[in-house]
Symmetry: C2
Subunit: 387 residues, 2 copies
């Protein structure tokens, strides 16, 4: 037989990725060299690269001069990088990920302006815009160099420094997407001043999450700075973002960056959080839903005798101190069956075995592969009446 | 300043990939264990994985029992893998990559059948189907495990064993796509019997190409087997495919798998080939266009005094002996300006500096960064009159 004489061929290789997250203030001020230095470091003799800038509409309302500032900033770089066409201003928020026409208009801009694989797409905005633009960059010409400039607490400490992108498809959150690291991320802390109180607070949920599963000292720091964080101190918030981003990045680089396994240890509080976002038709911010999800899994961890009562109380107290609401009526809706369905959906999105991260202590994650519906229901009841 | 106290964070990691290309005959015969062994090797205790099979319509016409055979094959595996829904039969050929509705119907099937990240999508067909289905698999849930069963010479020795996928967008070939390695490839040599003579021959162009830039001995082997290859000897063709795939895979694993640089050393003959495909509105097969492109770059290499005359003659003779036509009137159309435009488009798709692979000998690639339009025109004229 022919096949006996044709041995199998094995293909085995590693693809290296490297990017830096820089922290700055006023990135488009002419005296600010962060972005400039990065672009110069990538300069290639004799080539002027192109850059397509996509900007969150909300920012242009808060900073009426921003577009002019960006253009002026790039004028000084015109021997290295050239802005193509006009800056694209698009509406942010989850809704932008539901709109296939918006996605297509961005892909068409890549085509129209001749953005090639060595050009840049520079996305400036919150997590939803970064997700959408990141997906466009990832699939156009099989990958255009993406620079992210996250402008919210949540995107600066979590999604914007990671390796994922996505859009929603027919009502399914993040159904389409890829793993595609950016070439650089710039966290401009001044943009945080544009946030309303809900978004300022909401983004802290991921910092609490990562402290609970990875870093007890960080939890203690958040605890002792809760009041000043709530009162919008930018310096403390900058540290919170930096440490959260650091833990997030460390987890990606030392774990399973493109999630080939079934476990997602970073997803503490997220299974119920995701479900709540849907049940409330996204009237809850992601961080608000995750805060409730963490409260639920914290109480469940206690009820299952994994987590000491003292730790449970400290976690719930910190959430409340920062201004999070830790219960939502949708948790109890339809005799809690809706909530329980969320577990199944969570497993399906990842595939493989159900894996839920709970807590054995502050800073001590504890993986389980099943959830007891009775104890879950008791945990919901506990939260409903917790003051 | 705050930023002084917040050092940049560096993210650096490698993502490992590994897959095997197996050679077999009659992969869905019940006695054939190739696919079965692979699926068993990936088995996870207590989980029945799902598989969505997508099949090239042309194959069902040539093998009326194929669908029934596939279903029967999977019946025997039902404790490990379950076929979901019905086998999806879609039209093959380049046209399937132009149809956004077809893409969407496949994505919707992933949703409807609950295909998760640990399920399989199994694509059976020629290069276009593998490209399309591969793209669906790559972006659904950020990547579903893709098994490729290429059924043409071209897909078995080249595209189907590599790491790319794509669809066309608004008339731009491969505008959308990703780099996403499959989890396994099975080259079923019996499927080659379904090819017409054009497709049988056309796929050999990539083997000649890879021999010219990487392996003189392989060129000599093709040369000495040209007649028997042309007369459709399956055993010789199987060797040709195996060696070509081996060189291709070796190049990917030891080079720049996801093409982060500007050079594409595997693209000998392709810049003009791509342009010709467009100029002829895809009436030329990819391999036929590449054969002409190789002839052109061979003559150009000779005219520039890189390549000995003897080598030029041997290359042109081999192409003709296998039945390739090595000139097309579109090369000369519009005073050769159209052709020259192809160079610019080739550079744009890759970005960065123009890099064209020429030849300094058989098995000796030679990179240049500019093409002399006058010598290019002379090379076209030479081919036009070459007998």
């Amino acid at each position: 037989m022919i096949e006996d004489s044709l041995p199998p061929l094995s293909s085995e290789f590693q693809v290296p990725y490297r990017y830096t997250v820089q922290f700055t203030k006023g990135i488009f001020q002419l005296t600010n060299t962060s972005l400039q230095n990065f672009l110069i470091s990538e300069r290639k003799e004799g080539i002027i690269k192109k850059a397509l800038v996509v900007l969150d509409e909300g920012l242009t309302l808060h900073y009426p001069n921003l577009i002019a500032e960006i253009k002026k900033y790039f004028q000084g770089l015109s021997s290295i990088v050239q802005l193509t066409g006009d800056i694209m201003v698009i509406p942010g928020g989850e809704e932008c990920k539901n709109n296939p026409k918006l996605w297509e208009s961005l892909v068409n801009a890549v085509d129209t302006y001749g953005i090639d694989r060595h050009s840049y797409i520079i996305a400036i905005g919150g997590g939803a815009i970064l997700d959408l633009v990141g997906y466009v960059a990832a699939v156009s010409h099989r990958g255009i160099r993406l620079v992210r400039i996250p402008t919210t607490v949540l995107s600066q400490n979590d999604s914007g420094v990671g390796v994922k992108n996505s859009i929603n498809h027919q009502g399914k959150k993040n159904f389409l997407g890829t793993f595609a690291p950016p070439v650089a991320v710039f966290n401009d802390l001044l943009f945080l001043e544009s946030l309303d109180d809900r978004d300022w607070r909401s983004g802290m949920a991921e910092a609490i999450k990562v402290s609970l599963i990875k870093d007890r000292d960080f939890f203690l720091w958040i605890e002792s700075n809760a009041d000043i964080l709530k009162s919008r101190n930018l310096e403390k918030m900058s540290y919170l973002i930096h440490r959260c981003a650091e833990l997030h990045i460390h987890h990606i680089a030392n774990g399973d960056p493109f999630e080939s396994g079934s476990s997602r240890p970073l997803d503490f509080g997220h299974w119920a959080g995701h479900k709540l976002e849907y049940l409330t038709e996204f009237s809850l911010r992601h961080g608000e839903a995750v805060a409730i999800g963490m409260a639920l899994d914290t109480v469940y961890s206690y009820q299952k005798n994994f987590l000491p009562e003292e730790d449970r109380n400290r976690i719930l107290l910190l959430l409340k101190k920062l201004g999070f609401v830790i219960y939502h009526p949708e948790l109890s809706a339809n005799e809690k069956e809706n909530l329980y369905l969320g577990l199944q959906e969570f497993r399906e999105h990842l595939g493989g075995m159900l894996t839920i991260v709970l807590l054995a202590g502050i800073g001590k994650p504890w993986e389980v592969h099943e959830i007891d519906p009775k104890i879950l229901a008791q945990s919901v009841d506990f939260l409903e009446t917790y003051v």
